[in-house]
Symmetry: C2
Subunit: 230 residues, 2 copies
């Protein structure tokens, strides 16, 4: 399996191209509307056959490019069932699997940042969205976020994966690009080294972050799969 | 071999940690002074034993963190002989090799952006500095840059490497993180698909880029290995 990480400087979002080298079947994870042209050019140059357009969740900070990409590829849009999306092709739930050439994509439901977070597990790599970020995790204060759910997703689900599992987040704000489950179990600032739920919850309740600038546009835009003209 | 890519948002610089898993001996490539604390923390958490602090060239846009990192590790600073650096431990030339645990670091002199560019080849990965960037290359209009030298370095040296060689640049301005030699031979906007030297040279002479904001501070700072207080 090959992975290519792409970055959107405006919203600090990582988009991933993941493909099976034998068949060139590919998945795009968390595309960004403003980067569709760049990404489609890259997909063309790499010779990828896009089969899936995966969303880790309904984002609040940027609008997905999945709708426009679906018009230019054979990609099927996948989001979690809890999103209530009416534009997705597949409403996924825990345990679903998709074939990508000889690789398998496994769906883990890892809510807490929202109620519809998915971690996609592909061949030893976990695309963790805003659930697990490098030394950090997503916020829990909107979109049906929940400290309880996030703590459970992190410590009871993701941290039971093999330690060498590579972690690829949906965002980074400090210049990190990836991590491993083993590192995060030890060094994650929110839940590493066996921090208690109480410590985690108190810290999360005191982040005092401003709302994402574009939340009022991004969430409805994502529920349209980025097809703003439709 | 393991590679971890780190990013400096202020100067769009990639720093790399490269290590041999068996011995944990590590090299840091192109550190950034303002990110030394972040990177040293990461090095500590990963359990790396820094042996080399490699510079792909004397940078004009940021100051290296190699001097401060040398004070905190056993790392030896490596720059190309043409730099005239008096603070480096090793002045490298074409063909030099260094051992990193069971891995070998090979020095290719790839001038053109400056007169002292090195591409470090480590186990199928080329750390190409400002010589080769994703779909692009470095500018040639200061620091003894040369269209002739850069064209030669790209087309006669780097493009003779195996096509699957991974390319890790020192900068990116569009959100790309890596490439391969095969891709760049075909799709590089400056020299891909057999562009002539004349086309390349005309394009490079008409970039009309402003000088890097910090060039007057960065170049002398790098010739002191970032030890600004010494």
């Amino acid at each position: 399996m090959k992975i290519r990480q792409l970055f959107d400087y405006d919203t600090w979002t990582y988009t991933y191209l993941v493909w099976d080298e034998a068949t060139m079947e590919a998945a795009v994870i968390d595309s960004v509307l403003e980067r569709v042209e760049r990404d489609m050019q890259h997909i063309k140059e790499l010779g990828l056959k896009v089969k899936y357009l995966l969303e880790t969740h309904i984002h609040a900070d940027h609008i997905t490019g999945s709708g426009p990409m679906r018009k230019q590829t054979k990609g099927q849009i996948v989001v979690h069932k809890n999103s209530g999306s009416e534009c997705a092709d597949i409403l996924a739930v825990e345990g679903d699997t998709f074939k990508l050439g000889h690789q398998e994509i496994n769906v883990l439901h890892t809510p807490g940042h929202t109620n519809n977070d998915i971690t996609y597990l592909i061949e030893g790599a976990a695309f963790t969205g805003d659930t697990l970020m490098v030394r950090d995790c997503g916020r829990t204060d909107f979109q049906l976020g929940s400290n309880e759910n996030l703590f459970h997703s992190l410590t009871e689900k993701l941290f039971t994966l093999p330690e060498e599992t590579m972690v690829f987040p949906a965002h980074d704000y400090k210049g990190f690009s990836q991590s491993t489950i083993g590192e995060e179990k030890q060094f994650n600032s929110r839940v590493g080294s066996g921090k208690s739920f109480q410590d985690f919850s108190t810290a999360m309740d005191n982040l005092n972050l401003p709302n994402p600038k574009r939340i009022d546009v991004a969430v409805p835009g994502n529920l349209q799969c980025g097809n703003l003209d439709d």
